[in-house]
Symmetry: C2
Subunit: 141 residues, 2 copies
């Protein structure tokens, strides 16, 4: 918990007024989290965690992603140095994506979040049912 608070404190500095007055957008933490916080990035990193995948394999592993978003997410992750892209000169050419060392370093923090989500899901679900079921017992104002 003290760890958490110190990270939070560090993060808060970026949010301070002085920093914001110029450009709030350059907060590194927000920059990074906004990127990997999109709909597919975490899913893709998790899928690549066990072994490298080819384009088609990824598409089969994550069935409900469109090719367009698959391509775009892979490009973004590659740009951020989290994955590497290797083309093999087969006919037709095949492409293999795998996690870079930087990407691997993300696994531990990501896993702790997934672990939390998995263990707390029942609480969250219960809270939702409570909230949706009793919208009038606790009036808004």
């Amino acid at each position: 918990m003290s760890d958490a608070l110190s990270a939070i404190a560090r993060f808060s500095r970026y949010q301070s007024d002085d920093a914001q007055s110029a450009e709030a957008l350059h907060c590194p933490v927000r920059d990074v989290l906004d990127r990997i916080g999109d709909k597919w990035s975490i899913l893709m990193v998790m899928t690549l965690a066990t072994r490298p995948h080819r384009f088609g394999e990824l598409h089969r592993a994550i069935r409900d992603i469109s090719k367009r978003m698959l391509t775009q997410t892979l490009r973004d992750l590659e740009r951020d140095g989290l994955i590497t892209r290797q083309v093999f000169p087969t006919k037709p050419p095949s492409v293999e994506y795998c996690l870079s060392p930087l990407g691997q370093s993300l696994l531990d923090p990501m896993a702790s979040l997934i672990d939390w989500a998995d263990r707390r899901y029942s609480d969250i679900h219960a809270a939702r049912v409570r909230f949706d079921g009793a919208p009038c017992d606790v009036p808004r104002e």
Copy 2:
């Protein structure tokens, strides 16, 4: 790292074919991460980590959020049981938001992610510069 892999394995089960054939959408992990992975949730939880805030305080703390998204994100977090909302019958009424125990339990995993983002930002930034600067040295195909 073994922790990471076991969490990943657990997560992968949800992604398996059998699960997907019915409804991939009911993966608890994706459900939770999609929600707190939006643009403002993490920022808001972090802001509430130190102390409770009123609506206006939050708006000042996170300057570039619109009132609409502030309201909506707060509702969503409340619905998920991560924060609590308390109305004081002042004139005009004031409202205080604070982290619930469930919300507090999120701080540790969230902090480890923030810590990662903060420490690895320079690597990521360097990777971006490299990628953007040399789009032809490593041709796409």
